[in-house]
Every structure is written in structure tokens, then in C-alpha cells.
Amino acid sequence: MKTVFKRTPTLKDCPTHYCPGCGHGIAHRLIAEVIDELDIRGRTIGIAPVGCAVLEYDYIDVDMIEVAHGRAPAVATGMKRTNPDKIIFSYQGDGDLASIGAGEILHAGHRGEQITVIFINNAVYGMTGGQMAPTTMINQVTATTPKGRSAAAQGYPLQVSELLVTLPGTIYVERCALSSSTAVRNAKKAIKHAFELQLDGAEGMSLVEVLSPCPTYWRMSPADAMEWIEKEMTKVFPLGRLKG
């Protein structure tokens, strides 16, 4: 019998704590596969966010740190500046990166830190119970927008990648999704490219935004959540390479 798919070694063989249909598991696997394909496990340090992915180190078998909410790009700066030979990546959600950590991501990009950022955008705060995130869609019902987000009251969804593109310090920004097998393959290519740039010593920050489903707090079935990404989210967060 021919093996067509197997777990990559850097992804641990363990049960997941993520909800059914959550995108984090896919994103973790893509990162682990990229680390193994590039053979950089022994020189990679990962930064876990505050949020559902705080236990990322339970799944990805590299040296990892867990940091305060939003501060990953500052922590990554401290790591990379003192260890230019190491590959530093942060993994951050939308609350972490786009809200409380907006200053840190902006300035890490502004300084052109040679780090790789994986930005998981699921338009909601997951771990705390589905509150509105900066990336929450207009009319999206959340725990803190019971009547749906309104632009007048809560502002428009924040397009962080588009903002970061304007900074000379960012060298590569791409938005992908986990909503289909094709999309997942594209996401992996983007993540790999972002790591390769750091490996090559490219001067600047690379960021891959990943539109990721949260069926639990979108109150949808996993299949409907995938469809909602493609039909709704991509209208506000268009896929593709924004820079680099």
C-alpha cells in the first residue's frame, strides 16, 4: 500500500483541544510541514500568542515561548536581534495582532525586523467567548455585538495586511485562506515563502494572513464556515499577494 499522506515529524502526535472545524490545526500542520521541508527545526523559535493558540507548543515540536497578549512582535525583535542565525516566527490571532498588539506589529514592520508572522484572522475572539475583533465583519453577530457589528458604532473591519503593505520595512505580505484544499495548498506556499525569505536573510518582515474558520463562534457548521470565508470574508479581505 502506498502512503499518500503522513504526519510530519515536527507536528506532535497528540489529541487536539481545538473545536471541530477550527482552522488552527490546519495552520499548525502547514507550519510544521514547512519547518521539516526546510529542515530548520533545530534553529527555529516560535512565539505563541494569547488566544486559542496559546498552547501551540503542545502541537509544534520546536523551541517555543508564550508571551503577553499582542507583544509577540516585540518579543520576536528581542530574539532575532540577539540571534540573527535563528529563524523566529510568531503566530498571532486577530485580537492579539490587530487590536491589543497593533502597536507592536506596526513597529516591528516599521523597523523591518527579519521575522516571519503568521496572522490568523477568524474575525472573532475565540478563547474568551466570541467577542468582536477588529476584523469582525459588518453585521456579524458576536458576544459583544449582539445586533451585529455596525460601522457607525464599532467601525469597519480592520485590514491590517493592507496597512502593513505601506511600510517600507515589510517585504512580503500575502493573504490566504483555509477554506478549500486549493486554498490550503496556496497558504502553505505562502508560509513557506515567508520562512524562506528569513532563511535567505532578506531585509524586512514577512507576514502571511490566513483567513481561518471559527464555526463555534460564527455559529455555523464547519462546512458553512468554509463557505462563509469564501463568500463573505474574502470580499473585505481579498486573497492574494499584497506585497513582495
Binding site: R41, D63, M64, E66, R71, V75, T77, R81, T82
Partner: protein, 373 residues
């Protein structure tokens, strides 16, 4: 003067200084620049900082000197970022520090709590200014509570050093890095605007380092080993409590082994003045004058503010004496003095705040008022 544990022998100290004078070159430096150079000598790999008065000379000095040494300097976008850059560098096993002044150190408290939780060595210099709020840029000792009570959230301690001269500030830097590495703990060097700004002759030399444990916990890439994880989250039932016990045991070791204080003519004293940092310099002058007037007065100067020299003060309070606490605040360290004295003797307070600095004669007057006519 170098750090002395309960030194009462002035002759020994003088002899020690003379040896140093012969062996080492004395140069004139302001406290902020001297502490920065001392950090470099102590092997600081990375400095991260954000401008705030009255410690800007540290950041400016480091921006020039660290690159010269092939080391890391980053001007961060905020104190939040600065302390988290320290967090990142420290997690990889590097010696990292930041410096700031009171409002900036408030912003760092989140990071300091995480450093304490994740057991990361780190050095934070606070060149204190007046508060609360934006306060002013004048010298103050108003952050004693913040420094010695944790400051951030959760059940933790930091080591706090309170130097009283530019030389001692210099000596504190290597001690701070060593203590941080030995106990895997954030160490706060609590200076003030006077110490930061004033110039004094200093000897900058590398002292023999303590024997320090290997940093086998550091994130260096899991080459040929299992992954290392640096964390402060303990979700499994009972696991955080175990972690808290582990930290408590370490804090008890620090309390047992690392208390530093100095005292002067306490044995026959009716009055003992307790002061740290720059306030202790003023007290020293006032006590000398009071002795000349025949008043039996001595002083105790805590050098480590945490761990606090509780035993030394308690011992002095075994005989009835009046304890006078002098601070550049409205009264913060006095709480620790009272805890140490534990009701055995009266504890009174005199302090100035908001940039007010008591003159020697002002303190002398307070001492005179306590004498039995």
C-alpha cells in the same frame, strides 16, 4: 564604596578603597552613563529602551556603545515593547536589560509579571521621578511600593537593589545580572533622578562573576534535543500552585542568602535612622553632625530593598530605640521598617516628595526633635 554587608568597620572600608585606588583608574561619570557602561562590563548582550527623563543618558549612551561592542541596541516604540524585547532576548539565554523612569516602569509591569512567571533573568533600571501620574522629572523614591511589592499582577517577587552612590550603582549592575541569572528572576535597580544625573568618580572594573547555573532552559533551537518551552500559563489543576510553591522556595533562598545592608554606630544609639538610596546620603551627613552634638544616633541603610534587611532592623529594635525613616516619598519603606521593628520600638517618619529633597539640616532637626531633653 563597594557593597558591604553590615559593615561597621570604617577602617576596613577605607583600606579597601585605597587598594582600589591604586589598582584602578577613577573617572568622573554621571550615574546614568556609569550604569550603562557597568552593564556593558557585566556582559549585557542587549539593551532595549524608550526615552523618558531623567534616564535619557542611559539610552543615548547605549545607542553608541552597544554597537561599538557588537551588541544589540534597539530604541523601542514603547516601554511595553522594551520589556517584551527583554523578554525575548532573555528567553534565548542572553543578558538583557532595559531602563526607564517611573511612568515608563508602570507600563512595564505586565512584562515584569510575565518575566517573573516565566522565570526569565532580566535587569530593569528605574531612575525614579516624582509621581503619581506624569508627576514631574525631579528625583523621588515614590516607586518603592511598586518595586518591592511586585508592581504587576500575580504572586511574585523581584529582587530590588537601592544604591546610594554612582559607584554603588555601578557595582549593582553586575550584581543585578548575576542575581538574575542565579535565581532566574527579574532584578530591579532602583535609582532616582539625583543618582542618574549627578557626577561622581567611579572605578569601572569587571569583578569575578558568581558561579552561575547553566541556561539549559533557554530557547536556542531544539537541535538534537527535546523542545524547550518558556511559559507562564499553568492550566492543569494544581500545576500553577506547584509553580507558585517553586517560586516561593526560590524567594526564601534569596531572603536567606542575598540581604545587603550597611549600618553605622547603631550599638550605642538611642535613635536609628533608616534610609536607602540618595536619602541615605543625606542621612549620613545629618547623623555625623548629630554625633558631633553628642546625640547618640546611628543609621541603617538597606541596600537590597527586597529582600529587606528585616533581621538587621529587628535586632536593632531588641533594645528600645526610636526608628526614624527618611524617604523621598510620603512614606513607603516605613511599612517594611515597621514590620521589622514589629512594635518593639517606635517608628517615626520624615519625608519629602514631588521633587522635594530634604537638606542635611532638615534631617538633623528631625533627629534633634527626637532627643529626650
Amino acid at each position: 564604596m563597594s557593597l558591604v554587608v553590615n559593615s561597621t568597620n570604617k577602617k576596613n572600608m577605607a583600606a579597601k578603597n585605597q587598594v582600589s585606588k591604586k589598582a584602578e583608574k577613577r573617572i568622573l561619570m554621571c550615574g546614568n552613563e556609569a550604569l550603562a557602561e557597568a552593564a556593558i562590563i557585566a556582559g549585557c548582550d542587549a539593551y532595549f529602551g524608550y526615552p523618558i527623563t531623567p534616564q535619557n543618558e542611559v539610552t543615548a549612551y547605549m545607542s553608541r556603545r552597544m554597537p561599538e561592542e557588537g551588541r544589540v541596541f534597539v530604541q523601542s516604540e514603547s516601554e511595553l515593547a522594551a520589556i517584551n524585547m527583554v523578554f525575548g532576548a532573555s528567553a534565548t539565554g542572553k543578558r538583557a536589560m532595559t531602563s526607564s523612569s517611573s511612568p515608563g516602569v508602570s507600563l512595564m509591569q505586565e512584562g515584569i509579571s510575565y518575566l517573573a512567571g516565566a522565570e526569565l533573568p532580566s535587569v530593569i533600571v528605574n531612575v525614579m521621578r516624582g509621581g503619581p501620574g506624569l508627576g514631574n522629572i525631579a528625583p523621588s523614591q515614590g516607586d518603592y511600593f511598586q518595586a518591592t511589592r511586585g508592581g504587576g499582577h500575580g504572586d511574585y517577587r523581584t529582587i530590588v537593589l537601592g544604591p546610594s552612590s554612582v559607584q554603588e550603582l555601578v557595582d549593582c549592575m553586575q550584581l543585578a545580572f548575576d542575581l538574575a541569572d542565579e535565581y532566574q528572576i527579574p532584578v530591579i535597580v532602583l535609582a532616582d533622578g539625583i543618582l542618574g544625573q549627578m557626577m561622581e568618580p567611579v572605578i569601572l572594573n569587571k569583578k569575578p562573576s558568581r558561579k552561575l547555573p547553566p541556561k539549559d532552559w533557554a530557547l536556542t533551537g531544539a537541535q538534537g534535543r527535546q523542545q524547550n518551552i518558556v511559559r507562564s500559563l499553568w492550566l492543569k489543576e494544581g500545576s500553577l500552585e506547584q509553580h507558585n510553591y517553586k517560586l516561593r522556595d526560590r524567594y526564601e533562598q534569596i531572603q536567606k542568602n542575598e540581604v545587603l545592608s550597611e549600618q553605622y554606630e547603631v550599638e550605642d544609639a538611642d535613635i536609628v535612622v533608616v534610609a536607602y538610596g540618595i536619602a541615605a546620603r543625606i542621612v549620613r551627613g545629618a547623623v555625623t553632625k548629630a554625633r558631633e552634638e553628642g546625640i547618640k544616633v546611628g543609621w541603617i541603610r538597606p541596600i537590597t530593598l527586597w529582600p529587606f534587611p528585616t533581621e538587621q532592623i529587628s535586632k536593632a529594635a531588641d533594645e528600645f530605640r526610636i526608628f526614624l525613616t527618611i524617604e523621598l516619598s510620603m512614606g513607603q519603606m516605613i511599612d517594611d521598617v515597621k514590620l521589622a521593628v514589629s512594635g518593639k520600638s517606635p517608628v517615626v517618619f520624615y519625608g519629602r516628595a514631588g521633587g522635594g529633597v530634604p537638606a542635611v539640616d532638615e534631617v538633623l532637626d528631625k533627629i534633634r526633635q527626637l532627643t529626650i531633653k
